[in-house]
Symmetry: none
DNA sequence: CCTCATCAGTTGTATAGACAACCGAAGCTG
DNA sequence: CAGCTTCGGTTGTCTATACAACTGATGAGG
């Protein structure tokens, strides 16, 4: 059964044994595993060694351990296939309005240091923050916050409400052309609030783009942080010709 | 310092104390923490209690623990620019990081439909697949699979072993310059194997880039799928000049 | 100079025991 | 019957000890 002193730790052997037992269907989803005491007797090891193996299984997401109740096999995680067809594409090389944009909030606030640095203004200066969500095929796919320096665009909130688009709003203020300066792409787990806004499970990561748009003279006009549901969105980068 | 019997486990108190100490800069990136023995003396607890706290810090991605050496504070994020000319080691040395590349596997296989389409060859044609891991300052940051059409580059495996770099390998075959055609960026949770290769916690997402490199005439020479540890790598997209 | 063995210091594994915290069911009490 | 207590079984924490495995430096021997 287990072999001692062969270079493979006992808890690893137990972990791998139970792993195959679970994934091969020996224990079904929701089943309760034997108690730590029973397992330690069955494998002939100390209870702590069993606990080490169980901790690893929990980290793998195969089981969940409940205080005073026992260890239970988790429902198999839905593994979203990376199908190349069903994904929406966000093309960074193009400047186009995302369809299905929903205005969630528009307020004037003081710029925190990060926003201030991006827009090249003083921290604490007033900026207009517009929060909106993007939908496609009835599915929430993005959640974005855009920051505009208010000194440059007074009354932006009202204009945005009327026009409903960043491009048209900026044009109203005389900015006919603007371009993306640099985009930073990161991935992380969502906060509870972000997961709710994106209508996606908390365990799925989000793709985030942070970008600064500048006008023709190179002056920052918008700083945007956009969260994408990673299950549905891919980002494309194409070198411009 | 620590309070016993107040409902909060000792290891949690230690974990949170060390967490703030690290993020507040008490220990800098790359610094070695005191040994488990010293910490156990300092906090007045058993070594195993310290180990529990360190394990949690490691899961958080704040430290890494190395057998026989010690625990080290992880370093901050790395910026990985994606542009028409993207070269792994160039990117890193420009940020004064020490690049490293480890060849994990090199085999000739038949192209699956996805690879074939990307390289514009017949499905089933033989391609050379090179799997390697990228490092910066000794830390794993990427895990990549690169596909090359074998018809165009016979004996690629041997050449790659000798040169250890995509750029130098292609140069050996007369490709002096190549550029990135299109990059697709997605995010998802890693498989157990991917997390292991990236030496990152299983609950942290990975950033993935898929790109095709073409030679001066526009013929595909390489298709690459590169996984980045999202905790430590950000992708930068700059408008191409 | 290079190679190898050794050694102190470090983390990893395994064992053992004790008690706390929690859960659920069974039994008691009004 | 509702509410409460008790109790056995479970997981969580902490301590203690011992040894294995690994790392890096030091020094002996060629």
């Amino acid at each position: 059964m287990l072999s001692r002193g062969n270079g493979v730790a006992l808890w690893r052997q137990i972990h791998s044994k139970m792993e195959t037992e679970i994934s091969s269907g020996g224990y079904g989803p929701g089943d309760r595993l034997p108690s730590e005491n029973e397992l330690s007797g069955r494998f002939g090891v100390n209870r702590h060694t069993i606990r080490r193996a169980l901790a690893a299984l929990e980290e793998d997401g195969l089981i969940r351990v409940e205080h005073g109740r026992g260890s239970f096999v988790r429902e198999p995680v839905i593994h979203y296939p990376v199908s190349r067809r069903t994904r929406f594409s966000e093309n960074l090389s193009r400047q186009r309005r995302r369809p299905g944009s929903i205005l969630l909030m528009a307020v004037d606030i003081e710029a925190d240091p990060m926003v201030a640095e991006a827009l090249d203004i003083e921290p604490g200066a007033v900026v207009t923050r517009i929060t909106n969500a993007g939908e496609a095929d009835g599915r929430r796919i993005s959640y974005a916050k855009s920051y505009f320096p208010r000194a440059q665009f007074p009354g932006m909130v009202r204009v945005y409400r009327e026009t409903g688009s960043v491009t048209r709003t900026l044009r109203h203020f005389g900015i006919d052309d603007y371009s993306r300066k640099r985009t930073r792409i990161i991935a992380r787990m969502p906060t509870v609030e972000e997961a709710r806004e994106l209508e996606q499970p908390k365990k799925r990561p989000v793709l985030i783009t942070e970008s600064v748009n500048v006008d023709a003279r190179g002056v920052p006009v918008e700083f945007g942080i956009c969260l994408f549901a990673s299950d549905w969105v891919q980002i494309l980068v194409e070198p411009s010709e």
